[in-house]
């Protein structure tokens, strides 16, 4: 089904998407929020620029955007895929528990904050360019990969990467780690993305955006993991 979204209120657009019950293509999207919220089992292709909270609580659907997305993409996402042929704003994948987000370009601040994994739910975000500050803050599980494919001479991540991290992993494709890491995080230098899961995520990102895998699979990565599962255990005194 095709929907022409020009001038539509988000509630009307979302209602039309929900009612269609089939794969949907949206044209002329201009900032409508909450597209695909909670959707399962369907493909939605979006032309234009969706608004905040694209795919919030997404539960299995696959969303493709042929441009940039705004803030809070994939908020509390539980399953499915969001593929963005552009860059994403702040708080991408907030508290995400499952599914995958692939971003061709950069992400803003607070990407993957409080991402968590649970049994078969293994959330992942793969970012082609750079990430802003607070990447993976409070991360409790899942995988964040930043591929650093950009030509600006800026660090691959901003400040406070992984602050409060107590699970999961962050992979940064770079030769030298120029960001200062907080005490809760340890970094190891590895060749290639490391685990099978990480390799397959990088391959999937390359396939989705038509990139040659080789430079991504053979490069140097920094793998960040938490120092402890219970970082605050010693903090309290029963009173």
């Amino acid at each position: 089904m095709k929907i022409y979204a020009n001038g539509m209120h988000y509630a009307a657009l979302n209602a039309a998407v929900r009612q269609s019950k089939e794969d949907t293509e949206i044209f002329g999207c201009v900032g409508q929020r909450y597209l695909g919220a909670g959707l399962e089992d369907r493909k939605i292709v979006i032309h234009g620029t969706p608004g905040n909270a694209l795919g919030a609580y997404l539960n299995g659907a696959e969303l493709t955007v042929d441009g940039n997305v705004q803030e809070a993409t994939g908020d509390t996402m539980n399953g499915g895929v969001i593929e963005v042929h552009g860059s994403a704003g702040d708080a991408t994948g907030y508290a995400m528990r499952g599914g995958k987000i692939f971003i061709e370009g950069d992400v803003g601040y607070r990407c993957g904050i409080h991402m968590k994994a649970y049994l078969s739910h293994r959330p992942a975000i793969v970012i082609g360019g750079r990430a802003g500050s607070f990447l993976g803050e409070y991360q409790a599980g899942g995988t964040l990969i930043v591929l650093g494919g950009h030509t600006e001479h800026k660090p691959i991540v901003g400040n406070f990467c992984g602050t409060g991290m107590h699970g999961g992993e962050i992979l940064l494709r770079c030769d030298a780690l120029d960001a200062a890491l907080p005490a809760q995080v340890k970094a190891e230098r590895i060749q290639g993305p490391g685990s099978e899961e990480a390799v397959s995520l990088v391959k999937e990102w390359c396939a989705r955006f038509g990139k040659d895998e080789t430079p991504y699979l053979t490069a140097t990565y920094y793998r960040l993991t938490p120092n402890a599962e219970n970082p605050y255990r010693q903090m309290y005194t029963p009173n």
Binding site: N59, T76, E229, N230, T237
Partner: protein
Amino acid sequence: MMQLYIRPDYEVIRNEARCIACRICERQCANEVHSFDPETGLMRSDESKCVNCHRCVSLCPTHALKIVKTDDTYRENANWEAQTIHEVYRQANTGGVLLSSMGNPKPYPVFWDKLLINASQVTNPPIDPLREPMETQLYLGKRTVKAEREENGLLKDTLPPQLKLSVPILFSAMSYGSISYNAHESLARAAEALGTYYNTGEGGLHKDFYKYGKNTIVQVASGRFGVHKEYLETAAAIEIKMGQGAKPGIGGHLPGGKISEDVSKTRMIPQGVDAISPAPHHDIYSIEDLKQLVDSLKEATEYKKPIIVKIAAVHNAAAIASGIARSGADIIAIDGFRGGTGAAPTRIRDNVGIPIEMALAQIDTRLREEGIRDNVSILVGGSVRSSADVVKAIALGADACYIGTAALLALGCHLCRSCHTGKCNWGIATQRPDLVKRLNPDLGYERLVNLVSAWKHEIEEMMGGMGINSLEALRGNRLMLRGIGLTDTELRLLGVRYAGDSL
């Protein structure tokens, strides 16, 4: 390092003439206070471990036990009381942040106790609730909608979703993790039987309790534990937790040790790993951002569920509530600074926030002044201790009350304020299977139903006395209240006259 001895606050007094050394106290105490001395055949106690939860006292078959406040004393000092001294010792011993549970125990004024309820005499006579109908049913939700008509003139149903309650009392948010499975089951079943709601807190909803969905409010907090489509859809309403009265401005932290297999399934996080709820929602920095979360939840649930926004009662609560009332939320929940908690830093619990009575009165006034009171319903909690508190809260402007501590007391809690240790002898604030099974949900739910039914009768009596036969007519009716022992400022903030000040 030097560990300074901290003398116990309580002494376990055992009447040797009554004690039959049956060792029940020993088996009942998860803190391991009691032990049997085979050489003398007598019971011993180590009071340094006692939290004064009264489990042993309650279960001793010969009533041989009592717990008394120790009369051991430091040199008396009105400024440096024993508790204050002990806290310094504890921190010097460990370097840790002091951790406490349940509500603020400090002697701050309780304004409920300084408000008196009116009754009718002669004119507008009292109503006998045993003889005449009293309306205690109410709806929570947004009331301000434009009336729209179909082409044929019939009214369109544009009323946003409402929560129907048969009594103005709900059970407040307590997560599975902070309290036990059996405690949750008791609350869920009682809510169903009473025609009201219980609240999952931020710990997710156990699969076994999905069947109580019609009476369940689910919470969405900063950690988003257990939040997914089915969870949202199962609930009657969704509560966004911005703050909690016991610990305004800080997040939650469930230690990995309390994350059992079952709790892990419910929260959808790995076993044994700390569950950290950050202090802020990292996507909410303004009322506009809050509106976005409200709207995204509405979209995800197709506008079928009322959205509650819960905040702690803090200094600018009225201004914050004004923002929330414009955020698209249907209900505002306000939690006062005496509200309970499974664990909070002592300093926060005891020093941050304001009394619920003041926050409520100010919020209701502010929303009325701005003409947006009917945009939202107001729920208050922390702490509502009796039916009289409920009546006073409604007269100050609340639609209904959340009760947490009172509900736990009904389940057997003795307010020892040691929930953070996870060794609750009453089977409430623990995940230890041997302790959890001490709380029988068949009996627990009955006790909750008893409590709320009794309060309902009392509310009807008080309403009848005032000549009021529906909650609607009591809500915000501050002329039904008079203050006693209050300053002019307190009277002004509460919006009530002094006792004896006749119209």
